[in-house]
Symmetry: C2
Subunit: 423 residues, 2 copies
């Protein structure tokens, strides 16, 4: 089955916006058993969009476009595609009502121009947009110029904003694809997510042991990101669940302590789930990460059951005042030190009355580095009831954003290992 | 001039990796006056790569590929492209020496396979790789099948890893393009970034006034993200700077108070820059955003000059203990209320001794909503020396991540407006 993704938007080609649709949609489709054959980005001009759609339809079973369904003058996908395939646009009253309600609920005046989004090409299926105003549209298209006269590929048009597109794909598009293009063989996929071990080390330790399962059809893939390696186990057929289970057991027996979750799990979800299961609470004390650790923990729904709060002590004064870090400790060791990390974690735990507290103090850069403590140096602390507080040093000489991300991941891994050990 | 970018890599289509090349290269080229006409992602198969390159060359002046130049078995771009266009590969001694030195400097053994990267198609230009082993390659290609027999487009092949590609583009590819394809007319571009006004409202208020400038060649584009709209003004020719200036004045006179910056500015950078200029400090008190506001402020290098710290008071107990919110206020109004937002902001300002303090208290969802205060309800507070504290209510019934992002943006906009008013 050939699937092509067409992202429309001059801002993508001008590099003003990162194309996150390709990754997100590619992954969602692949995990459902459908693999993107090709992806194209074209500018917001009628000619570019129509040419790309025509070319894609001539070689695909399914073509998905993103963007160009909004109310402004550069949103031309709906209108031009309808014209190209001679599908008259008709006003859909249910969509018009949804749009009007969307504005009235937000107590915002409704510009008339937005009602263009209620126009639907004749015969098209409508994917409701629960988080915005432009619905998704799906229609079959007759390719008159095609050599195969009965070729009727599907064209799906999705809105551009990710917060509208993503729920629409989950709720409407994937069920539609599964129904319209049933897989000939079952497809199974499982991703194991690891932290704290490098990609080549993972491969060295696993490849020989997994090879016999690969000969039975298992597809093994690795994907490395900041401090993390995902191990993807996929394959077709009714035997595959058992083969994937075997592979998972082998992998866990070899590198199990590095594996924090499966599929869409995040390290923060793993930590929050474990805390909920143990009925324990956590607090954070952050310097260089400036709230990024608290943000990760609170990104998990239900975090309020375990996350009490945090202390963003960027200045030394606030480290003393909010966390009780001793001024002598700061003067003698500097803010980025083992002792300060430990005093921060202890102070956060005592002042919040949480079961655990994580602390972070480091030099994110680009300024602030010294010869002894170069940019990228960071100390992570952990204080838990009934344990001696500990601190570990890490070094992430990257840009500021990568530094923060790597640091937060390692802080979460520090508490995760403690929660696992106590199990 | 037609420029097409071809990203090779099955991991891109499987959604394992985010394609950052498109944005980075698109922006670098556009800022130099060259605009990508099209971008394509294809899998790592010889047929896909050769087909895409052939099709791109037939409609372009310049085709750029990324990836597939490395030493492993799935790196096939160099070899297949050379074969497709009948350019014999020849060993380049200088590259071979560079590769050998690369390994010896790192005291790593050199696998023989890496020397394949010293193979250069006959007549190709070499872009040295200062940060890796695979050089970039540029060559003209004769398209025998083309109708125009003297059409000789350029094909540039770049390595996949961003840390190798980016310096190579700056040092070698852009100078090459400027020399080989001198711009006939100057190119100019300016993006105005707005917050707090919807995309269709922006267009309604601007389009009629900007139209005469568009008739003089100005290209006007909008790009909406969470709570933000970018307004892009671009065009060619020596008259364009004056036309863009006129458009910018018109836009600022119409919706100036919503515009927080230009080009690569972020709202957080705008706030940090203004605080630095005024020599003022800020603290935050966050409930539902859990540190995301602090993270945004501290993502700006130099934020430590103005950001003192923050109070992540997720639990009511910590709102009382860390910020001095009255238990009666909480009992009477609930945590998500105007009065609590104000007491949080005041408490944060007093306890940190900052000039300004922002507070956030809301219901991120998916749980926790009530009829009176549905999921998405949020109060933002601001306390500043010499001002009566204020609080505003917002409503973001989105997923948790979008809720947090929209809320943080509006909190930053709240302090930005105060800093602008005081100017």
């Amino acid at each position: 089955m050939q699937i092509e993704l067409i992202n429309t938007g001059s801002e993508l080609l001008l590099g003003r916006v990162l194309n996150t649709h390709q990754q997100w949609l590619g992954k969602k489709l692949a995990d459902t058993g459908y693999i993107l054959s090709r992806q194209v980005t074209v500018p917001d001009t009628a000619e570019s969009i129509c040419d790309a759609v025509q070319a894609a339809l001539s070689r695909s079973d399914l073509v998905i476009t993103t963007g160009g369904l909004g109310p402004t003058s550069d949103d031309i996908t709906r209108e031009r595609i309808a014209a190209q395939f001679s599908k008259p646009l008709q006003k859909d009253e249910a969509i018009a009502e949804h749009i009007a309600r969307f504005f009235s609920q937000r107590k915002r005046p409704m510009p008339k121009s937005v009602l263009v989004q209620a126009q639907v090409p004749e015969g098209a299926l409508v994917f409701n947009n629960e988080y915005g105003t432009a619905p998704g549209l799906a229609m079959t298209v007759s390719l008159s110029k095609s050599f195969i006269s009965n070729l009727q590929p599907w064209l799906v048009m999705l809105p551009g904003p990710p917060r509208e597109l993503r729920p629409m794909v989950e709720t409407h598009m994937l069920p539609f694809i599964r129904q319209e293009f049933p897989l000939k063989e079952e497809f199974h996929c499982c991703t194991l997510r690891s932290m704290g071990i490098g990609e080549s080390m993972v491969e060295d330790r696993l490849l020989d042991r997994i090879r016999p399962l690969m000969e039975q059809g298992l597809d093994l893939g690795f994907c490395a990101r900041t401090g993390q390696v995902d191990i993807r186990l996929c394959g077709h057929g009714s035997e595959m669940p058992a083969i994937i289970d075997k592979a998972e057991s082998l992998i866990r027996s070899e590198i199990g302590k590095y594996i924090y979750g499966t599929n869409d799990d995040s390290i923060e979800k793993s930590v929050v789930d474990k805390l909920i299961a143990k009925d324990q609470t956590i607090a954070v004390a952050e310097s260089c990460t400036g709230g990024f650790l608290g943000h990760h923990i609170t990104s998990i729904p239900g975090a309020s059951r375990v996350f009490l709060g945090g202390f963003l002590t960027y200045s030394n004064e606030l480290k003393e005042k909010m966390l009780g870090v001793q001024s002598e400790t700061l003067a003698k060791n500097g803010a980025v030190s083992e002792k300060v990390a430990i005093e921060m974690a202890e102070g956060a735990r005592l002042n919040s009355n949480a079961d655990h507290a994580l602390s972070v103090t480091g030099i994110a850069g680009p300024g602030g580095g010294t010869k002894d403590k170069p940019v990228g140096t960071v100390w992570l602390g952990l204080a838990s009831i009934g344990h001696k507080p500990i601190a570990i040093q890490k070094y992430h000489p990257y840009d500021r954003e990568t530094f923060k991300k790597a640091t937060v991941n390692q802080a979460l891994e520090l508490i995760r290992r403690r929660l696992v050990k106590n199990e």
